[in-house]
Amino acid sequence: MLFFVIRRFFSSIPTLFVVVTLSFFLMRVAPGGPFDLEQPLEAKIMENLNRAYGLDRPLIEQYGRYLANLLRGDLGPSFYIRDFSVAEILMKGLPVSMTLGTLAILLALGVGTTLGVIASLRQNSAVDYAVIGFATAGVTIPNFVVAPLFQIVFGLMLALLPVGGWNDGAVRNIILPVIVLALPQVAVVARMTRASMIEALRSDHVRTLRSLGMGQRIIVIHALRGAILPIISYLGPTAAALLTGSVVVETIFGLPGIGRYFVEGALNRDYTLVMGTVVVVAVFVLVFNMVVDILYALLDPRVRYE
């Protein structure tokens, strides 16, 4: 098992390398630079700035230097948010994004699987159609429509919850963003659970259980354990995406997560900030893919730790 984890870890290093390289060059090929303002700077100042940040060197040298720094864990200074290093910015944003993401994933998993199981047990009933309807709504209504609606209804009309702000992660402030963030995922998980439960309930080994009079509760447990596997592989990358921030939710609710920094960074050609975010997101994706593989191996005895 340990060997499996270690091997899995090392096999993700080339992927990370490709991601970093691709992003680095893609970003640099794009026109514009970090110091292009509305009014162009004087050539002399521009030159000095470029020299100070090493942007006047050949691209390949910059790339080599970036890689070397990255290996030492140094993500460099931010170009746009002056006086801050990228690491500092990310360390500030990450806890916010991760809090929201974790809660949203837990909500999605809990509510989504429950709804899916209920619907699958009452296939083609009113309950089933209600769940399908809700799930379809969840994936089709964009969250930048849901978010302002929630703000109006719960924040202004009912005045139950604040419409935005982080407030050091106070529960009242988190509720709305977490729900908005979780809603599409609840919908997807509910749909997937329903589909794979229906499949599992029709499987031969569930028929065996029924023929042995094992009862509804045990049948659901057995079916769900098999049905949960595809959901885990869906949630892996999704969790990585949610934990590393949702641009829309963070923008609408005014939350200082890394999703916002990323978009601002990209728009302002803040090379180091964008690269830093990309690296963090890629690491999250790789880690979560690894977690999925490990969970799979733990839950499904047919998967062997080679």
Binding site: T15, V18, V19, L22, S23, L26, M27, V29, A30, P31, G32, T136, A137, V139, T140, I141, P142, F144, V145, A147, P148, L149, Q151, I152, L156, A195, I198, E199, P237, A241, T244, V247, V248, I252, F262, V263, A266, L267, V274, T277, V278, V281, A282, V285, L286, N289
Partner: protein, 368 residues
């Protein structure tokens, strides 16, 4: 009877029948056709151009009533009169025209009567009578009638026309990007699956790497790269969204390759292109069709997300995403700015999802 005996029903025909019995899918099909037709031909019928600015009608709420409303006419006349440096001596309504008497301390320059025409409330004024050396004018001012069923936006543009035009753009983007994604995905997946072996390993490894790239980053880079040209941009989005398609088609091809009817064709001596054309591709089509109907809404949603970030279609062109993000900013004062495009967008997405689900059930009756 003999007709039935000699002419078989293909699996496609069976699937079509099953789909026809699916009420949600059929209703969705009708609804989405109506939306598409409305977006295609509607803008010619609304009487407004999508980029025409009615500066006198900024943020007019949605209503069936014709504009201008009575309470707008008085102030508008006052405003125009003061531009002519004149005062209104009297105004009398005769149906849709106003008989207006203006007086001024100095002679009124008749060229400046064009202010009436320039206003969005009136047509060109006609001089009936000139008195006191041009210091007193009697005018006939026809009222310009307009209807804004969905209201007007912050710049005074007709929301109905804009919503329909936006629909054209969103649907076109959805179809275009999906087409690109399908084209790349099917080719890549079929080649990878059919060739197999080391080629397959390398090709799928590349897909894995692309999967772990932060997607938003990719799109934003592409937008920056292609400079917000929406056709190019969505070719690019399509170029990103093909990954799932490639995986689906590859999996299908791999399993089809092992099927006995493909081996049978091999034994008959059928060439590789013949096998792909007659045996592999027709049988991967089902999942491709289903995935297509689910990819279109995904792309439309993605476009609206980019618009929300301010990276979408450029003014005065518009898309549902642009309108919605605009509406979301004005949600407190002018809810109708959000409501109408949101209804169009979500209805379209709902319909496409139901059609996709219906197709899946129809093509794979096992999952019922």
């Amino acid at each position: 009877m003999s007709e039935a005996a000699t002419h078989g029903r293909s699996l496609w025909a069976d699937a079509r029948d099953r789909l026809a019995r699916n009420r949600a899918a059929m209703a969705s099909l009708v609804l989405i056709s109506l939306i598409a037709l409305a977006c295609l031909f509607g803008p010619f019928l609304t009487g407004h151009a999508y980029d025409k600015v009615y500066s006198d009608y900024v943020k007019v709420p949605a209503s069936l009533a014709s504009q201008p409303t009575e309470d707008r006419i008085g102030p508008a006349l006052q405003r125009t009169a003061s531009r002519l440096r004149a005062t209104i001596a009297s105004d009398t309504r005769e149906g849709n025209t106003i008989r207006l008497v203006l007086t001024a301390p100095r002679a009124i320059d008749e060229r400046s009567l064009a202010f009436f025409e320039r206003s969005d409330l009136f047509h060109a004024a006609k001089v009936l009578e000139r008195a006191e050396e041009g210091k007193r004018l009697t005018l006939l001012v026809p009222i310009e009638r307009n209807r804004f069923l969905f209201g007007t936006d912050g710049n005074g543009r007709d929301m109905l026309t804009r919503t329909l035009i936006a629909g054209r753009v969103s649907l076109a983007i959805g179809l275009l990007a999906t087409f690109v994604a399908i084209l790349i995905g099917v080719t890549y997946g079929a080649v990878s699956g059919y060739l197999g072996g080391r080629v397959d390993t390398v090709m799928m490894r590349a897909v894995d790497v692309l999967y772990s790239l932060p997607f938003i980053f990719f799109v934003i880079m592409l937008v920056v790269f292609f400079g917000r040209n929406f056709v190019l941009m969505f070719l690019a989005v399509g170029a990103v969204e093909w990954l799932d398609m490639a995986r689906i088609v590859r999996g299908q091809t791999l399993s089809l390759k092992r099927r006995e009817f493909v081996q049978a064709a091999d034994v008959l001596g059928v060439s590789t292109p013949g096998i792909l054309r007659r045996h592999i591709i027709p049988n991967t089509l089902g999942p491709v069709v289903v995935y297509t109907t689910l990819l279109v809404p995904k792309v439309i949603l993605l476009e609206s997300f980019l618009s929300f970030l301010g990276l979408g279609v450029q003014e005065p062109m518009t898309s549902w995403g642009v309108l919605i993000s605009d509406g979301a900013r004005n949600i407190q004062g002018a809810t109708y700015l959000l409501i109408f495009p949101a209804i169009f967008l979500t209805t379209t997405l709902f319909c496409l999802n139901f059609i996709g689900d219906g197709l899946r059930d129809a093509l794979d009756p096992r999952d019922r």
